[in-house]
């Protein structure tokens, strides 16, 4: 546990535990040379961040490209915050027939935003980093 004013670097295991505890994150992709960030609801499963999307930039531009994904939490009552960032590559698994993709599409990934999100995407994690720190309540 980080003491006050200390920033604690998190292990990969702790990063994955924290990622798995949340369902809302942000994916950053590069579109025409410019970074763009999108909030998504996700599920973490065996080093893959799975989210659903509608037709648009995430579907058209992210597959087979390097992306970053971030999730965080600020707990004002406990006076603690953490952030986890992963680097990875996206695969459009909507129609994929490999066994892992088929299994990932069984996950309960529930987008909070209204509208159909029929396309399934997986961010295959390459690197993970995370930090946690405490702040005055």
């Amino acid at each position: 546990m980080a003491s006050r004013s200390e920033v604690e670097e998190l292990s990969r295991e702790e990063c994955e535990r924290l990622l798995a505890s949340r369902s809302l994150g942000r994916i950053a992709i590069v579109v025409d040379g410019r970074p763009q960030i999108f909030p998504v609801n996700y599920v973490l499963e065996n080093e893959v961040v799975v989210f659903r999307t509608s037709w648009g930039l995430k579907l058209e531009r992210s597959p087979l490209t390097p992306v970053a994904f971030e999730a965080d939490m600020v707990d004002p009552v406990a006076g603690e915050a953490w952030s986890v960032v992963v680097q990875g590559t996206v695969q459009d698994i909507t129609e994929a027939i490999d066994t892992r993709s088929v299994r990932l599409r069984q996950l309960a990934v529930d987008p909070a935003a209204p509208g159909d999100r029929p396309y399934w995407m997986g961010v295959y994690i390459r690197e993970t980093s995370g930090r946690r720190f405490r702040f005055p309540r």
Binding site: P63, L64, T65, T89, Q91, T99, Y124, R126
Partner: protein, 128 residues
């Protein structure tokens, strides 16, 4: 039902010395789930979308890793007079939605799971 009818002319391919990023960009723009790896006019291997994603996740230097490091060999193609079911089972085994068609080692074209399944549905009287 043989696959001859469903062969699309050959399009995008990969070379063993190309980087994963080069091939990923080509696979995306071709809208394919795999690319035949060609050397000296002959198909020598296959690289799939899944292979690329996995390689990019585990490679020490993904920007420098080449197709040759991660391509697969074995039962990775069909021949023009193979049955559609052979192609479908092979796609399922590999986990990709397209498959190269070769005559001996010479690449003729590709078949897609979507077209083969649609044709199978017609043969079996299934409405799609």
């Amino acid at each position: 039902m043989r696959i001859t009818t469903f062969i699309r002319q050959k399009g995008a391919t990969a070379a063993p010395h190309e980087t994963l990023h080069q091939v990923a960009a080509r696979m995306r723009s071709a809208g394919l789930s795999c690319l035949p790896v060609v050397r000296d006019e002959g198909m020598v291997a296959l690289i799939t979308e899944r292979d690329l994603v996995k390689a990019m996740a585990i490679s020490v230097r993904p920007g420098e890793a080449t197709v040759a490091d991660y391509m697969r060999t074995g039962s990775i193609s069909v021949e023009p007079f193979d049955e559609a079911s052979v192609a479908l089972l092979r796609m399922l085994a590999i986990g990709c939605l397209d498959l190269p068609v070769v005559n001996e080692r010479h690449l003729i074209g590709m078949v897609s799971v979507r077209e083969l399944l649609a044709a199978q549905a017609v043969v079996h009287g299934i409405a799609v």
